[in-house]
């Protein structure tokens, strides 16, 4: 098979750009990997794939967008490839935000009494979503605004705003009885 992209030893700008991005966004990339993969071993592999994709991508980075947008695009895209490969073996269907809004949470009545429980519930919810909705919710949880999310995902800012509204409503409903945070 012809090699479509050869892997160079690392160009002069590629290594420092990767080092900088890995330092600045390392924790965020780790959280992103958690949103896409529940299994710890597969998650470690996914995280490595993301870092590899990121390093390779910086060979072609031309400053057309911010480093943050670039990093998140590469990471989400690498993770999307991962779940497309993985889901052939999965039986649990992914759902959209719209579908999730209409689904009742079996554990909704249970109290998420601490942060750990709240996080577990949040991860379960995020990991059920279809890729595009997952990208929006992860970006939202990372604290981005609608315009930044739109730049990363390619969905219009208006559409992102609608999705965020939906996300807030789902989160409010699911965590309404979710215990007191910080108490």
């Amino acid at each position: 098979m012809p090699q479509k992209d050869s892997i160079p030893a690392g160009t002069s700008k590629q290594d420092p750009l990767y080092e900088e991005a890995a330092s600045g966004f390392g924790a965020a990339l780790n959280r992103l990997a958690r949103a896409y993969e529940a299994d710890p071993d597969k998650r470690r592999d996914l995280l490595q794939e993301i870092h590899l994709a990121l390093w390779r991508s910086f060979e072609k980075f031309d400053g057309r967008c911010s480093v943050r947008t670039w990093v998140y695009r590469v990471a989400h895209n690498a993770a999307t490839s991962h779940i497309i490969r993985q889901r052939r073996a999965k039986t649990l269907a992914m759902v959209s935000l719209e579908e999730l809004e209409n689904l009742s949470d079996k554990n909704e009545s249970e109290l998420a009494s601490d942060q750990r429980q709240a996080l577990d519930r949040l991860l379960t919810l995020v990991q059920r979503l279809k890729p595009l909705d997952r990208q929006v919710i992860v970006s939202y949880l990372e604290g981005m605004d609608a315009a930044s999310i739109a730049e990363i995902t390619g969905i219009s800012a208006g559409n992102v705003a609608t999705k965020i509204h939906r996300i807030k409503s789902i989160l409010a409903r699911r965590f309404h009885e979710g215990g007191r945070h910080g108490e």
């Binding site: 098979m1 072609k60 895209n77 990363i152 945070h181």
Partner: protein
């Protein structure tokens, strides 16, 4: 509401979650890249070896084995042609891409769509590869049964099982391809809304 965990607090729960090691060294990255490339080459090599074995076996039966009849030879030639076609498909399309090196240029919607299109094409390619081999194999079995009448029933049974498996495979790939296409259509609808 006393028990409420508002969206902003959910955000802080998300952002403050503990994460394990977050960085790979450049050496690790390069080693991983090399392993990835080696794995890709190995995958393709296995496909080529399997096809070469099939081509060799059917080529030998068709050209060198005695006694044979014209139907058996025709079937064998069709199987060889089908295998060569499949080999060409593996050569041009490949099993896996070597990673999203251009992933930063594509927004998530476009990238996701292109990945789904690749998956759909993969299912369609399996479909066409099966179709390339099955008819030749059936003709070959017919010729074989005519040449060796004593074992005709066994050969017919083997051919029918192969045909049934092939038809199931075709149906499955067709169904999977259509399912992926529906997701692509849904993404196109999202883009139109945008």
């Amino acid at each position: 509401m006393a028990n409420e965990l508002p969206p902003n607090d959910v955000r802080s729960v998300w952002q403050n979650q503990g994460v394990e090691g977050t960085k790979m060294s450049l050496d690790e990255i390069r080693r991983k890249a090399d392993r990835f490339r080696t794995g890709l080459r190995r995958q393709n090599r296995i496909a080529y070896i399997l096809l070469a074995v099939l081509v060799g076996a059917f080529g030998w039966i068709t050209l060198g084995f005695r006694p044979t009849n014209l139907i058996m030879r025709t079937g064998g030639c069709l199987v060889v042609l089908g295998c060569l076609y499949s080999g060409y498909q593996v050569y041009t399309r490949g099993g896996r891409r070597s990673g999203p090196a251009d992933a930063g240029f594509a927004d998530c919607l476009n990238f996701y769509r292109s990945e789904l299109e690749r998956l759909r094409d993969f299912h369609n390619a399996v479909w066409s590869r099966l179709l390339a081999v099955i008819p030749g194999y059936m003709v070959f079995c017919l010729g074989f049964a005519m040449a060796f009448r004593k074992g005709a029933l066994v050969i017919a049974a083997i051919a029918l099982i192969a045909l049934a498996l092939g038809v199931c495979g075709l149906w499955l790939q067709h169904w999977l391809g259509r399912r992926v296409q529906r997701e692509i259509d849904a993404l196109n609808a999202v883009e139109k809304q945008s």
